[in-house]
Amino acid sequence: MTTTMTKPSVSTPAPVPSRARRRKPLWASKIAVNTALVLATAYTVLPLTWLLVASTKSLGDLSGNAFTLTEFHFFENLGELASADGGVYLRWYVNSILYAVGGAGLGAFCSVACGYAFDKFSFRGKEKLFGVVLLGVLVPTTALALPLYLLASELGVVNTFWAVFVPVLVNPFGVYLARIFSAGYVPGEVLEAARVDGAGELTTFWSISLKTLMPGFVTIFLFQFTGIWNNFFLPLVMLSDRELYPLSLGLYSWHTVVTAEPEYYPLTITGALLAVVPVVIAFLSLQRHWKAGMTSGAVK
């Protein structure tokens, strides 16, 4: 403060040129900053644009003129997708929705309940138990897939819906996030007031805390939903019946035959595009909610 005060007293017109000098580079940096952001955006968006354009092409038109729209073959591709291999694609789609919506809903609820309990209640050995949860975050999920397969085959549940559905429910990082959210969103005074009013702990959780924790729940749900929708290794090791495949594994099974049977190219491309749509919609529609959850969680 003292240095800025002394400078103008030496020469009175000094502040004006200094401000003018700063304004010119400001324009240049503004352009540089936004150009860099536009370039990064082009990198992330162009491959998806290609997928969109490629899904409107027939096999013969796919090679070569990739970004030109010479023919519009999208609806024919859709028809072929719906009928290919006895309409199995639709089945994969339903499976993915069941795995991802059911798994993320149930899993996020377990994580929120557990994280809330970690935050709001005190009991002996609490921090040690939380340390165990954090240790669970460190265990790579794909390194877990084979052990899960070995256990499932011992129990005879390999190649069932539950073999893929149950393991994705557990989300130690969700518990970690839920504890932070609970500390940020649910004031201790509210709980005290509820206790004074004679409300049970579980009633308070169900009717007050869960509502306040909703943005946190949505955040955990969203991350887990994308995680399950994208899951590939676990279904790959668990499932051999293609009626149980999620989209990721189904598209992979088509992709592996593509060099031998090129007619699967348009099917894989159109199928991939449709598989991307729900995650993008879920993300865009829940975006505000998710964003709000994230920033208020970070402020605390």
Binding site: C110, V175, F233
Partner: protein, 296 residues
Amino acid sequence: MSAKKSQRGAATLLMAPFFALFLGTLVVPIGYAAYLSLFTERSSGLGFGGTETLFTGLGNYLHALADPAFRDGFGVIAGYVLGYIPVMVGGALLLALLLDSTLARAKRFFQLTLYLPHAVPGIIAAIIWLYLYTPGLSPVVAAMREGGLTWNFLSSDHALSSVINISLWEWVGYNVVIFYAALQAVPREVVEAASVDGAGELRTALSIKLPMIRAAVVMTVLFTVIGALQLFTEPMILNGANPAVNTTWTPNMYAYDAAFRRGDYGVAAAASILLAFVAALLSFVVTRIGNRKGAA
């Protein structure tokens, strides 16, 4: 005192579902895999009498560690980490700082479009990029040819960079959002005080904002290293298209290969346990380094 008891009861009930799942799908499978990793199966006699299970102690671990294919997998991961982490963390930090600066426009739009690839399933991202790498199918390769550039994405020399590019595309926006959220938490008064004192945008970013989000950066490095060790989906797609990417290219592919192509569950279990152990160990080291820097 009944209040305390009811609190304990509530805590138990709220935690029970998570810990039941934690036990059943995390602790027990790892324990069972550790147990299986101590045994090996050998066909008895002429192969008529089925197989017999023999205790080998650490035999499967020694077998995996002695196998050049498994060790090469860790070499591949090391190269991948060395190439990937600087580009990813540096890129995400740069973009987040640019977004957080007062100079950036349309911040919401940029965040959205940068994050978008992360919503795309990894297997589909890998398929898209493989097609974009394939001459004859790819507009990228065609455009580069016209510009006089001959870069073969599918040659064995470029296997690592082609995989790194797919991972970068999937994860950079995700980390930008994480870093940007952390930057938003930097008290505005501190940033304003710096600019009143005459610090420019660049100076504020480097000496005020960056140190304040160090914890988020350390966490990201940690999760990226754990993720790198799990590398599986992208090379599985490139396998067959790129001659360098064989079926045991990464440790995870080796474990998968052991279980499903060679039918050797003992070695597969041992490789999985080793992988989980190395991942946990590495992340422990990274947190230690992070903490030390935080204390200094």
